[in-house]
Amino acid sequence: MSITPRMAERREPPFGALRRTFAMLVKEFIQLKRDRVSFAMIVMIPVMQLLLFGYAINTTPRHLPTAVLLQEDSDLARSVLKALQNTAYFRFTHQVRTVEEFDNLLQSGTVLFGVEIPRGFERAVRRGEHPALLVAADATDPVASGSAMAALGRITETALMHDRVAGDVVPPPFEVRAHARYNPAGASQLNIVPGLTGTILTLTMLIFTALSVTRELERGTMEALLSMPIRPVEVMMGKIIPYVLIGFVQAALIIGLGTSLFGVPIYGSLMALALLSTLFITSMLAVGYTFSTLAQNQLQAMQMSMMFFLPNILLSGFMFPFAGMPGWAQWIGEALPLTHYLRIVRAIMLKGATLENLRYDSLMLLGLTLFAMTIAVTRFRRTLD
């Protein structure tokens, strides 16, 4: 009885709900203002997405790197090459002399196309023998090679426009034989499954370790750890090695399911795949560990990981053809471990590439791993200064 009247006396001021909501809102803004990483994320993510999608990504890529195996130097051969170049889909980057070199370039992923003009091509055309001109495509990524392949059909016509060596003959005097290597059916799963191995490993490995040091800082265990006789490298190795094993299990799971459910082949050596996967996992762990030493709390570490993950997805060649990106975007891509790992895992699984074929990407991956690990170790403070 004594309570109710008093409650009635303390009447609710007007707009109570509004004022309380406003108090909450002001507090949230103040906290947001203090949280620099969240703020950066709010600005960076839309800007990054917009710039990358707008300028870097191209789903009908042009100027694709192409190797030429020129076995005769004739006017007709030059006209054909010119016509190919004029489609704007092909950019001749390598001229090779042997079939081995030609195959190696395709297998390592250095070029997406190879054009072979056989010896005695012009003479055969003149004689009406109807010879064939080979265009081999790396079809592992059907998106990258698709439109260029489609353009091949009109090549004969354009090649002969200025060079009417054989007059207007129907059917055309030579044939362009397009050969989609590695993935003749153009099945996108074949390209996606190896790619997913890389992106899933990136995400999980990054997040696991990004939290590892910040968690110790947040829970106050870092201070005790620092006061005990253990070195930064020892802390890092101790934290990274368990996840190398976890990453390995994860990779095995994805690849195992990919082969059993989607029939993705593994033409190359499993040993090479395992070795380079371990290297890639380590590089992601080192990057995550670096974030962990930079972030002040676990939320920041997560946000940094997401901001790193985004360009990895867009610029590595996972979703969109690498060769179709402008130069600057390719440079950024080259600095991402995922780019190299994607090439490696696709080349080993789908093209049967060997370590020898993949020397460049393997070395790049190794270099980036060592770089990330060095930063991680030097970033780790021995003291609380």
């Binding site: 006061s227 006789p229 003291t383 609380l384």
Partner: protein, 317 residues
């Protein structure tokens, strides 16, 4: 036969010997020109208000922070250049519980034992569990222990590698009186075995359990010595007043010439000042009142510290 201890460290009976330590964070000077000496086997109490630089000093002693200036040794090792060796022989118990909450009691102890390279981590952990009286709880997660048990476990983890010096940063904050007493009994037992203990605290009763104490405020060491020495050094004259309506009296006395401090203690009032004549003059009128009994007494440690702090604050401003 020479003992291991004398082979490893210089034969001296000083465990901590530092001079002129200073440390700033940004523009804030946290410790300034601090010098201290702690004898081997002593329990040295480190007192001072919050934010006075106790934790920073302890961190500098064990190599977790690098002093901006100043030199010194800890167990005979240079605190600047030999932090690695100090780490091996010092047990540091942080203010915040710093064992892994998601590891069990046994797993935490085994982790520490392995880090220090003890020959048999399992046995060391088992022995420590018995010593701590944690038998039956070894598989419990450290995070699930009560406050008192957490502190005991943390102390156990610090003493596991048989350190020569223990640095305890407010080890009994938020622990009940019984657990606190047991904790201190343990510390005395360790000191009796020759371990040096530096312990920071806010509790006056704990200060009185130390062999020696030091008082630090605003990053400066204001006084040190045994409890008796510190009280004697203060030159503080204290009267204890008993009677009714002490609340009004406190307000009246405060601020009078010669009266530096008036503090209620239960049903009595402590009236203290350094200037005996001025103090006597100010209270003369009140001493005549029949409802009050005045008695000259020794200042308590708390009186001394609060007076020191007030004075330091004046100097600081």
């Amino acid at each position: 036969m020479q003992s291991v201890a004398t082979l490893e460290t210089p034969a001296t009976d000083i465990a901590i010997d530092v001079h002129g330590l200073s440390k700033s964070f940004g523009s804030r000077k946290v410790v300034s020109d601090l010098s201290m000496q702690v004898k081997r086997g002593a329990i040295y109490g480190f007192l001072g208000p919050n934010g006075s630089g106790k934790t920073t000093t302890i961190r500098m002693l064990c190599g977790l922070l690098t002093p901006d200036s100043g030199e010194g040794t800890c167990l005979g090792y240079n605190i600047r250049t030999e932090a690695d060796k100090i780490r091996r022989h010092v047990g540091y118990m942080t203010q915040r519980f710093s064992l892994y909450q998601d590891l069990s009691v046994r797993e935490n102890l085994e982790f520490v034992a392995r880090l220090y390279g003890l020959t048999s981590p399992r046995r060391a952990a088992r022995d420590m569990i018995t010593r701590l009286g944690l038998n039956g709880r070894e598989e419990q997660l450290a995070g699930e222990l009560s406050g008192g048990w957490k502190q005991r476990l943390a102390l156990g983890a610090c003493t596991l590698p048989s350190p020569k010096l223990l640095l305890l940063d407010e080890p009994t904050a938020g622990v009940d009186p019984k657990a606190r007493r047991e904790f201190w009994n343990e510390i005395h037992a360790l000191a009796a075995d020759g371990l040096t203990v530096l312990v920071s605290t806010h509790y006056m009763d704990e200060a009185e359990r130390c062999h020696e104490i030091a008082y630090i405020a605003y990053g400066q060491l204001l006084t040190h010595g045994t409890v008796q020495e510190v009280i004697a050094h203060s030159a503080l004259i204290t009267y204890t007043v008993n009677g009714a309506q002490l609340n009004g009296l406190q307000a009246e006395l405060a601020g009078k010439p010669g009266i530096d401090m008036v503090a209620p203690f239960g049903n009595s009032l402590h009236v203290s000042g350094r200037d005996e004549q001025a103090l006597e003059a100010s209270i003369a009128h009140y001493r005549a009142r029949s409802d009050l009994t005045w008695e000259r007494s020794e200042p308590s440690l708390e009186d001394v510290f609060i007076e020191l702090m007030n004075r330091a604050q004046d100097n600081f401003r």
